[in-house]
């Protein structure tokens, strides 16, 4: 029969070298690219400092309880997601399988984002940076047209990196430079996860700590840049009126949820390698708070740099206007400076209004430049790279920035891969004699081959689809079933006893209330709001089309029906695992109960899954 949980060391399960490694892995998994490029954006568009209120409320009632639940579950049952949910109830095995499917889908596209980061990183060693100047056209009389009409940074991103097609239906060709970088990224992931947590545990020391160092360096540098204070003031000035908009609350809830990387199965895998008598309650609170603090800490350098960029753009706008006025009126150089620009313009406008009107001066407003908010890849690869060109010593800043992004993404990839790797090891898809290195190698190889689709010309559109549909909705569903499963099927009294055995303390009222009522309710509300918002308009995307009349604005297009079908499939596949597997188990039991009426063997065959 199976060994009881009281004698853990005999089951030969790998374990963490020390507790610090475990905490660092959880933090590294939770802290990812979203902390740098999504949280500051949300802060900015949702009223600055006021956004912290719904954010911390969501952290308190949704983030911390769900995190504690997952960590406690994995630590107690000492299995990956599929095995753990099978132990809770064979009907809930689908929850584990759903988590596993989501981890697979997310691993595929997340590493492609890291591929882009790596491409920028290896291009940062050039002087001057390749995205600082436009290339010339064929007869060398001017700049490349596509580059000239947009900006050099945009051109480098859309043409030289992605070589993007104007429509998702046009696949384009495989970009060989991206394939090379993709192979490198998967090789790095293989190198770090080759023996499971034995190797990731060592790698995490670097990948989890290094981003904090770089963020601090950027913080110091960012605060010394001109215009940084404008950016920070803009970010943190609270505008409490935005709290009336329900969208803000929804964004806070979803941001907390996705930021903590819940429902991927990775956290369950990580905590399953813990010794059972470990204080998972303290761990959960610590990881959640560190994650939120990191988001806040990261937004300071990001917004200093954005403020600097806005100020520089504002100065450029002013300077261009000044030059046109000086040239038109043949005034001596440096007669009009930025400070007396407005007085000069009003003076000239009163004396020569037609000439001023003929110049078509752009209105330069600092607020307008600060309002240009971007999130996601646009922030990192377009806005930030442009700001880096303006800093002295741009190569060093670019290299630091992209290594930081790479470390952030890599530590999250470890969690994703563990979420895929651990259940496979437990399901024993390969025989025991096969070395772990081979299994991880096969996983990485297959993932690399599938991810080649994302290196096509239309690859970035597909990554957007995966991000929006596979990496969002199914997680909410799975998390909802997780809470319901533990609280109402496994029964919270039993779980409280298990947690008390592990931590030595009784579960206090906060956990009881949040697990029983608040978190499931919140998840249900967020899920429905999410679905309603998606249904409101047909899913569309913005395409980079040089032939569009509004170029360099991106063209708004609707997804063709076959792509919409794929979106639905991506969102539905992990969710549908839950009821399907429950149904499958029900029919299997019905068939078996018809054959044999021996109840005890049924009982033992259920518990046989414990070994």
């Amino acid at each position: 029969l199976s060994s009881t949980p009281e004698i853990p060391k005999e089951d030969g399960r790998p374990k963490w070298d020390n507790k610090f490694q475990y905490i660092l892995s959880c933090i590294g998994f939770a802290v990812g690219l979203g902390n740098v490029w999504r949280f500051p954006y949300l802060c900015q568009i949702h009223g600055g400092g006021a956004f912290l209120i719904p954010y911390f409320i969501a952290l308190l009632f949704e983030g911390i309880p769900l995190l504690h639940l997952e960590l406690a579950l994995g630590q107690f049952l000492r299995k990956g997601s599929i095995g753990a949910w099978n132990t809770i109830s064979p009907y809930l095995r689908g929850v584990g399988i759903g988590s596993w499917v989501v981890s697979v889908l997310v691993s595929l596209y997340y590493n492609t984002v890291l591929t882009w980061v790596m491409w920028y990183f290896i291009n940062s060693f050039q002087e001057p940076l390749p995205w600082s100047a436009c290339p010339l056209n064929e007869n060398r009389t001017g700049f490349n047209e596509e580059c000239y009409e947009s900006t050099a940074v945009n051109y480098f991103w859309y043409r030289k990196t992605l070589n993007i097609t104007p429509d998702i239906a046009e696949s384009g060709t495989l970009q060989w430079w991206l394939i090379l970088c993709l192979a490198t990224c998967w090789a790095i992931v293989y190198l770090c996860t080759i023996r499971g947590i034995e190797t990731t545990g060592k790698a995490i020391y670097v990948t989890a700590i290094f981003p904090y160092l770089v963020l601090t360096i950027f913080l110091i540098q960012g605060l010394t840049l001109p215009g940084a204070t404008d950016g920070l003031a803009y970010l943190f000035t609270p505008n409490l009126n935005t709290l009336k908009n329900p969208r803000v609350w929804l964004d806070a809830a979803t941001q907390i949820f996705f930021s903590l990387s819940l429902a991927f199965g990775g956290l369950i895998a990580f905590s399953s390698y813990n010794p059972p008598k470990n204080d998972c309650e303290k761990d959960a609170v610590m990881v959640a708070i560190v994650n939120s603090m990191t988001s806040l800490y990261a937004s300071i350098p990001v917004f200093s740099v954005l403020g600097f960029k806005a100020t520089t753009a504002y100065w450029d706008c002013l300077d261009r206007n000044i030059i046109s006025i000086i040239n038109e009126f043949d005034l001596p150089e440096e007669s009009i400076m930025r400070q007396n620009y407005t007085s000069w313009v009003s003076f000239l406008n009163s004396s020569y209004p037609e000439k001023i009107a003929g110049l078509k001066l752009k209105s330069c407003d600092l607020q307008e430049f600060l309002d240009q908010s971007v999130s996601g890849t646009g922030l990192a690869f377009i806005v930030f790279t442009q700001a880096i060109i303006l800093m002295p010593g741009s190569q060093a800043w670019a290299i630091l920035f992209f290594i930081m992004l790479f470390s952030l993404g890599l530590s999250s990839m470890f969690g994703n891969i563990e979420g895929v790797f651990t259940p496979l090891l437990e399901l024993q898809v390969v025989s025991k004699s096969t070395p772990k290195e081979l299994l991880s190698g096969i996983i990485c190889l297959i993932s690399f081959l599938i991810a080649l689709c994302f290196t096509l010309g239309s690859g970035s559109y597909w990554i957007d689809i995966f991000d929006r549909y596979a990496g969002s909705l199914p997680l909410l569903v799975i998390a909802f079933f997780e809470v319901i499963g533990v609280v109402y099927i496994y029964k919270i009294k039993r779980f409280s006893k298990d947690v008390k055995w592990m931590t030595g303390r009784k579960l206090n009222l906060y956990w009881q209330i949040t697990w029983r009522f608040i978190s499931p309710l919140l998840l249900l509300i967020v899920f429905m709001a999410f679905v309603i918002l998606q249904m409101q308009k047909p899913p569309s995307y913005t395409a980079w089309n040089p032939k569009y009349e509004g170029f360099p604005m991106k063209e708004e297009k609707v997804y063709p029906p076959w792509v919409q079908a794929i979106c639905v499939l991506l969102a539905a596949l992990p969710c549908v695992c839950v009821p399907l597997v429950a149904l499958f188990h029900l029919t299997k039991k019905k068939c078996r109960s018809k054959d044999s009426c021996i109840v005890p063997s049924e009982v033992f065959s259920c518990q046989g899954a414990n070994s």
């Binding site: 029969l1 009881t4 132990t87 809770i88 109830s89 491409w119 290896i122 291009n123 060693f125 050039q126 001057p128 100047a133 290339p135 010339l136 060398r140 009389t141 001017g142 700049f143 090379l180 970088c181 490198t184 090789a187 790095i188 293989y190 190198l191 080759i194 023996r195 190797t199 000086i326 040239n327 043949d330 005034l331 001596p332 150089e333 440096e334 070395p435 290195e437 496994y490 039993r494 049924e602 009982v603 259920c606 518990q607």
Partner: protein
């Protein structure tokens, strides 16, 4: 005689005024931004600089057409402003009171743009000939793209790491196998002196009272309700 001379001079002056004026035929506007280019080291634009400019244009015309007939006096400047900007035109001494075609002047300036810029310590942007486009120099491209070199270094490091880990894993596996066979051989030699029943030495077992086996005495609550 004097009157005739005065008359010719005035005719020439008027003709010059006719030839060089803003938007005249074959005239070009030049715009110079000395302070932008040189900052504190900026020099003032005065008559000597204008003379140098005329000389450079004449030099350019001579080099282009290799006729060696263009004189400094053939280059006419007018409408100098504080900006500093002015118009210039090149006259043809062989034909009376006409200007050299704009295309020739443009080609000549283009050919010698570098020399003209260096004479004034300026660049294409700060010494602008409006209407004459400059050939932009391409960015310097090294023979092997730098990114391939960096990529090669990174890839080599990673492959070395993977090979090291895989080989060490295989060695550990072999050693473990060898150790376990050695231990098996050793165990066969040593006689087991203590007989065990379910992990408990026989002497300790109370054969009459029996011993509760913890595995079977689990709580009912341990089993999931079906």
């Amino acid at each position: 005689m004097l009157r005739a001379l005065l008359l010719t001079l005035s005719v020439v002056a008027i003709a010059h005024a006719e030839l060089c004026k803003p938007d005249a035929q074959n005239a070009f506007k030049v715009r110079i931004s000395i302070k932008t280019a040189l900052g504190d080291n900026a020099y003032a634009w005065d008559a000597s600089e204008e003379y140098l400019f005329k000389a450079m244009v004449a030099f350019a015309m001579r080099r282009y057409s290799s006729k060696s007939t263009t004189q400094i006096s053939n280059v006419l400047l007018c409408n100098v402003t504080d900006r500093v900007s002015f118009w210039f035109v090149v006259t043809d001494s062989s034909k009376n009171v006409t200007t050299v075609p704009g295309s020739e002047v443009e080609a000549a300036i283009r050919m010698n743009r570098n020399r003209i810029n260096s004479a004034f310590l300026l660049s294409d942007k700060t010494l602008q000939f409006l209407k004459i486009t400059s050939t932009l120099s391409p960015p310097v491209e090294p023979s092997t793209p730098v990114w391939l070199i960096v990529f090669g270094v990174v890839l080599c490091l990673i492959v070395a790491g993977i090979v090291f880990l895989v080989v060490s894993g295989i060695q550990k596996h072999k050693k473990k196998n060898k150790d376990s066979t050695e231990r098996e051989n050793l165990e066969e030699k040593v006689e087991v002196t203590v007989t065990l029943e379910n992990g408990i030495p026989c002497e300790v077992l109370d054969l009459k009272a029996g011993r509760i086996n913890g595995v079977f005495a689990a709580d009912d609550e341990r089993f999931t309700s079906l």
